[in-house]
């Protein structure tokens, strides 16, 4: 026993310096972080890239858009990620953090769209909702139904009370928690869209943006909206078990489970591949990734990865990413970003953020 222990000690002592010195050497694979929504698409591209080229398969961490951009903007150099995926555009504050920390040249590439669906089990009738219904059904505070310009605590218990055309089902919606990009997009597109149908709220948005946000972006906490965690499979399982409830998740999950669940019509548009691609479906958002230009040439294979991602067989209309539920961009936009990926310009500049 003593001998074994001595041996273990000796090996430990020998290992440590060896490991430390090797750690300093160059990384030979691409490191990617970021959004859990882009993750299923980026991983497919990474795998194909690894299998068909001499480069190693990139490593992809699913950290969420915000977490990814935080890691991305921390520092330049081989110890930091080369690419970050995002299910929303980079914010001005994040861009400034990059600049401050020496991540100067960033290339932005848009890869396509993702639709957010509100679905239920096929055993129940399909819902026909509008953004207004979603806002009235799910916001914590809603405009007073008596017409005065005040808000009241959300009193609705069933969809029928929200809108007489809807069935008398109890309001029970399973959706992602506040840390999720899907939730951000849902709130921004569907709920705020519904809130804007009230003229006085629209006026309020122009006058006092933060006050509008408090009303339009806050989801009720009285049990009608159930935070079901980041695992969308779990939401699908729960929908099958309880046909009365609705669930909110990304389009790819509806696509994969189309035999068991159905997407509700939003503003009379069905969440289908074609409708989202045509921009008809109101609750959809663009997906991006960001590349550190300084890392190209430093880490092998980045250019090849960009070329694979922006190739027609990947993000094109019939590409393998569309099989996974990514909604492709129009061909002119695809063309444009393919050019961006090969020429690595334009790089992001402060003027890109002037609007917001």
């Amino acid at each position: 026993m003593k001998k074994i222990m001595l041996m273990v000690l000796a090996i430990t002592m020998l290992m440590l310096p060896a490991a430390m010195s090797r750690a300093g050497s160059l990384r030979d694979y691409i490191a990617i972080v970021g959004s859990s929504t882009v993750y299923p698409f980026a991983t497919v591209v990474a795998e194909k890239f690894g299998k068909t080229t001499e480069f190693k398969t990139p490593k992809i961490e699913s950290t969420g858009s915000g977490g990814g951009l935080k890691l991305f903007s921390a520092k330049a150099g081989v110890k930091t990620p080369d690419i970050t995926n995002a299910s929303r555009r980079i914010k001005k504050s994040e861009f400034e953090r990059c600049q401050k920390n020496g991540v100067r040249e960033i290339v932005e590439i848009k890869i396509g769209y993702d639709g957010i669906v509100i679905a239920n089990a096929k055993s129940a009738p399909r819902f026909k909702l509008s953004c207004r219904d979603l806002f009235l059904g799910l916001a914590r505070e809603i405009p007073n139904p008596d017409g005065s310009l005040t808000v009241i605590e959300n009193p609705y218990k069933t969809w029928h009370e929200v809108n007489p055309k809807l069935p008398p089902t109890k309001i029970r919606v399973l959706g992602p928690p506040p840390t999720s990009g899907t939730r951000d997009a849902f709130v921004e597109l569907a709920m705020a869209g519904g809130a804007r149908t009230f003229p006085w709220l629209r006026a309020l948005k122009k006058k006092d943006k933060s006050k509008f946000k408090v009303i339009a972006h806050t989801i009720r906490e009285d049990g009608a909206y159930v935070e079901a965690g980041e695992n969308d499979n779990l939401i699908v399982q729960k929908l099958l078990a309880d046909s009365e409830s609705l669930g909110i998740f990304g389009f790819s999950y509806l696509d994969q489970n189309s035999d068991r669940i159905q997407g509700s019509l939003i503003d009379d548009v069905e969440p289908t591949f074609e409708n989202i691609a045509a921009g008809k479906y109101p609750v959809s958002r663009p997906l991006f990734f960001y590349v550190k230009k300084a890392h190209i040439g430093l880490i092998p294979g980045i250019k090849g990865y960009l070329a694979e991602f922006t190739s027609e067989k990947a993000y094109g209309e019939d590409g393998y990413l569309s099989d996974r539920g990514l909604i492709p961009m129009p061909s002119s936009e695809r063309e444009y970003y393919r050019k961006v990926a090969t020429e690595l310009k334009p790089i992001l500049s402060p003027s890109d953020f002037r609007e917001k």
């Binding site: 003593k2 490991a19 430390m20 750690a23 398969t57 961490e61 699913s62």
Partner: protein, 424 residues
């Protein structure tokens, strides 16, 4: 009532007798309660196992499809075989199966029955044996995950669902011709992660786990045991030792994610070790398991009878000799048990690894302590979160592998303890 009271006053035996039935009842009640508690936990355990086995066992079988592949010399030029279009080869073999298929859409839905991985398989075979070119071979190739799910009954056979009428007709035809079979899923044990369920495997996560736990064992075992010996045998009891004891006990209860944050701060940001490496993962898990090992090792040292120490000292051994020649060998079984319990806990951790980047999609199988790696529980988590239906059974299958690993570790703990245990 009054009569009873009178009896009680008179004789002790009567008093005992009167209370006896109540005491028996209490004892019976407690026993029943114990049986209920064990029964309930067994019940839930059985449900858990039954559920995991029911969902996971089918994943060890994989549907294969028999294609007559004509290795077309035109598609396979000898000079650049490496980069030849094996996808086209696969597609033409699919078309040969059902020559009547026309139109882009129907062709595409036909190709969907075979896995993308089949093209890589063809490539491998041709590169190994050039003589195949120009011949026609009947080959069993991996079927697509959706077809696999259909064959296993997880997707209903109706044309409104995942398959269209035409595809269902083809599948029926294939079944009649005996071109579909289910075989042991070797891929699951020989490949790393993949986004195609039928091509994904557990080997990457398994070797990541082994590498990480090796590092953990190498660091936590000597450090933990050294610390325990020093604290128990050499440190003077006093305020300082009390302070240390309280802190070590506290550390054992700290949520594991905190150790992840610590690892991120120290090992990655300060020492500059690479992210996602088993080296860093192992070090973080070392920090986490150290308190457990120290506490159980101290208990094991305490359990060595003082007479042994005194006898050794009396015969002229130095304190260090006493410890290393007499106390340590006797306490070692207990220390090993503690270490393995600590390691088993480390085996199931994901939270601290999240902070240091080991929750990641990694296809290549990690070979060194510095290469990017992930571990079994993380793989389970990642698969549970994937949209493809076939990953559900793979999740359960990965849990089975993890459980087997765990049972092996715990069994070795029992074996080691039996082997070295000494009774007085």
């Amino acid at each position: 009532m009054t009569e009873k009271k009178k009896y009680n006053l008179h004789s002790v035996t009567d008093r005992v007798h009167s209370g006896l039935s109540r005491r028996y009842r209490a004892e019976k009640c407690f026993r029943r309660f114990g049986v209920c508690a064990i029964g309930l936990s067994l019940f839930f355990l059985v449900i858990l196992f039954a559920d995991i086995m029911h969902k996971g066992l089918p994943a060890f079988l994989q549907t294969q499809i028999k294609l007559a592949v004509f290795f077309d010399p035109e598609l396979l030029p000898l000079e650049n075989l490496e980069t030849a279009d094996f996808n086209a080869l696969l597609k033409s073999s699919c078309r040969a199966l059902f020559p009547g298929v026309k139109g882009r859409r129907s062709k595409k839905s036909l190709y969907k029955l075979v896995s993308d991985g089949a093209a890589y398989e063809l490539r491998k075979q041709v590169l190994r044996n050039h003589k195949l070119i120009g011949t026609t071979q009947d080959l069993w190739l991996i079927a697509d995950d959706e077809l696999d799910m259909l064959m296993k009954g997880n997707i209903a056979r109706n044309p409104t669902g995942r398959f269209n009428q035409q595809q269902l007709y083809w599948i029926e035809k294939l079944e009649q011709d005996g071109r579909l079979r289910r075989r042991f899923n070797l891929t699951f044990f020989t490949s790393g992660d993949s986004r195609d369920p039928e091509l994904s495997g557990i080997l990457g996560a398994l070797s990541g786990t082994v590498l990480t736990l090796l590092i953990t064992l190498m660091f936590s075992f000597p450090i933990g045991i050294g610390a325990a010996i020093y604290l128990e045998e050499f440190l003077k009891k006093g305020r300082f030792s009390d302070f240390l004891e309280v802190n070590i006990n506290n550390l054992a209860a700290v949520p594991s994610i905190i150790f992840g944050l610590l690892g991120l701060g120290i090992f990655i940001n300060f020492f500059g070790l690479p992210r996602s490496a088993p080296l860093v993962g192992g070090l973080v898990l070392t920090l986490m398991t150290l308190p457990t090992i120290i506490i159980s090792s101290r208990a094991a040292i305490k359990a060595v009878p003082p007479s042994i120490r005194e006898a050794a000292l009396g015969l002229g051994a130095s304190p260090v000799q006493v410890v290393f020649h007499h106390v340590l060998p006797l306490a070692l079984p207990g220390m090993l048990t503690g270490t393995i319990i600590g390691m088993a806990r480390a085996l199931g951790e994901t939270a601290p690894l999240l902070m240091i980047g080991m929750v990641a999609f990694i296809v290549d199988i990690p070979k060194s302590f510095n290469s990017a790696a992930t571990v079994l529980p993380v793989q389970i988590y990642l698969w549970a979160d994937s949209p493809e239906r076939a990953f559900t059974e793979r999740t359960s299958a990965a849990i089975i592998v993890l459980l087997v690993f765990l049972v092996l570790m715990n069994a070795s703990a029992v074996y080691l303890r039996r082997k070295f245990e000494r009774r007085w």
